[in-house]
């Protein structure tokens, strides 16, 4: 059975109208199985969409999608602590924990482990499973040999295992907002300038290479991770969920390409060409998976 296709939480500060339209399209797209909702990066953004969440959740569920609410990656301020404990108190919807504060609030009730939780190894996964985790999203920097061992351990414990196969990698988070800093503001006085960059703000090195993207307190890769050519291997390793992280591209189209490749109804070459057509000039990378520098794009060895 082919793995499920999931849509990760939107990392950017898209206006509510854009998010509503985005999720309307996701609901209609048969290639998508599961959708993560909620603000993961910046607690200041959450009020712009929180009151839409119940309707969006209901619409997605009515369309047959599994919906999971993702918790904040960074929890420090009182409003972040409250948002996290409120989320963990919900019993009628799945929760993805991205901070130990969420694990604390959730206790042993079932939950998923998000990519910010650093589930790097079989010992950590076993501990998390013992505490009620039902599903693990592995860190995106984990190389294939470790993915294999982590996935086997998780599967043996009956857990779902997820790997991000598309979209910018999260490379760092900080207490400081780098969007505000770029505009000579502070986090408390940011005026939500991150809304101007719906696919992140590019940082270019002084020899002219764009290589990072700023998204508020988060630093992302310039390249989109693309593991289309590795989906067969991931499937064999027991990965149950392929995560697509939302970018400002036709994500329904991206999902269709990954679905087609996951079900082997299209060649790697054709899938790659279709994905390229959807993503403009943004570079693709799979270096983390292959154990080299993350930005690199290692040619598919199996196809050679």
């Amino acid at each position: 059975m082919a793995a499920n296709i999931t849509i990760g939480p939107i990392p950017y500060h898209w206006p509510a109208a854009i998010k509503l339209e985005f999720y309307r399209r996701m609901a209609e797209e048969p290639a998508i199985d599961e959708i993560y909702l909620g603000e993961v990066i910046c607690s200041k953004r959450a009020p712009y969409f929180d009151n839409h969440l119940p309707d969006v959740t209901a619409n997605l569920m009515a369309a047959g999608k599994t919906v999971i609410l993702s918790s904040l990656a960074e929890v420090m301020l009182p409003r972040e602590r409250k948002a996290t404990s409120d989320l963990a108190a919900l019993d009628d919807i799945e929760l993805e924990c991205n901070n130990a504060a969420a694990l604390y609030a959730r206790g042993r009730r079932p939950h998923r482990i998000g990519p910010f939780m650093n589930a790097y190894n079989e010992a950590t996964i076993a501990f998390m499973a013992d505490q009620g985790a039902t599903h693990i999203c592995l860190p995106s920097e984990l190389p294939a040999p470790s993915i294999a061992i982590a996935a086997a351990a998780a599967r043996a414990l009956g857990l779902g295992v997820e790997v991000q196969v598309f979209g910018r990698a999260s490379l760092a988070v900080s207490a400081r907002c780098y969007h505000a800093r770029a505009h000579r503001r502070t986090k408390d006085n940011c005026q939500f300038v991150c809304e101007d960059d719906p696919d992140g703000m590019p940082l270019t090195s002084q020899n002219g290479t764009p290589f990072l993207r700023v998204n508020g307190i988060q630093t992302q890769s310039e390249s989109y991770i693309d593991l289309l050519a590795e989906l067969d291997d991931l499937d064999k390793l027991g990965i149950t969920h392929f995560r697509l992280s939302p970018q400002m591209v036709d994500m329904a189209g991206v999902a269709r390409v990954y679905r087609a490749r996951a079900t082997r109804s299209i060649s790697i070459e054709d899938a790659g060409q279709q994905l390229r057509a959807l993503c403009g000039a943004t570079p693709f990378s799979n270096g983390f998976y292959h154990g080299v520098a993350g930005y690199q794009s290692v040619p598919d060895l199996a196809a050679g």
Binding site: R81, A101, E122, A148, N207
Partner: protein
Amino acid sequence: MQDRDDVLAELICPAGTPAALRTAVDAGADAVYCGLQNATNARNFPGLNFTPDELAEAVRYAHARGVKVLLALNTYPPAGKVALWREAADLGARLGVDAFIVADMGVADYIARTHPSVRLHLSVQAAASSPEAIRYYCEHFRVKRVVLPRILTIPEIRAIRREIPCEIETFIFGNHGLMVEGRCSLTNYLTGQSTNMDGVCSPASAVEYIRHPDGTMSAMLAGFTIDRFGADDKAGYPTICKGRYQAPHRPEGYYAFEEPISLNLSRLLPDLISAGVHAFKIEGRQRSKSYVRNVVASFRKAVDDIRAGRPANIVDLIALTEGQKETQGAFETKKWR
């Protein structure tokens, strides 16, 4: 919760090498922290850290002088390599280290089960920045002390102190990391070596300085220009989060994350003590013996003065940064964020 009179203001000092360890002990450290020569700690740099024999000797030397040894096992084992961290923990327990500094839940769980008599300190690499997150580690692994991320203001630290059942350690001096520790893959993205899994940050093996015909100098990491310096400027080390880059609104190039700057909280020591900080950590396992001697001795005197109710001579501490730019980071004001 502990009472205020438990607060000892311990001085926790870096020991990158056996020589630095003896220097720190002799200069007045209450405890030293060190790591083994492998990926099990977050300063896995060439020429640093301890062999098992050196660690055994270090524990003897420190304990004979009433100084504690804390072993950093604060990286995240990638699946398939967990045994290396367990062996390091077994070794440390056998040699009698006073605490392990851990970040990974699997490593913490193993030590809590296998070596329950050895204290666990939660590394800054675990990024526990709320009372709930800290309590999670305390309740599951019997963590006795948390090293707080360098992102909190003193009022926030004071508030956390009231809500957690363990001691607090904060960094007070040295290199000032910008990203949430334990959540940073910048180095792996550019070099293929991971901070979390390999204990490597902007590794020297990937560094190159290129002098241009106009006299300017590029500091490169794995082929990426991290900064460019004028002919008369001192070229800095190309740490990714301290580089100068261009953004659409900053075409001139700017420090997108932070300037190359040192953390120096010497002015805030009394406030930190009154906020309930139990231990002060000095960064710098990669530093020279003379640096360790100067910094440890100066802070020893300052902490003793404060404990005794005397005004500390902070001028000496401020001078330690030797003309470098320094910051009080997030500790003084949330405007830093």
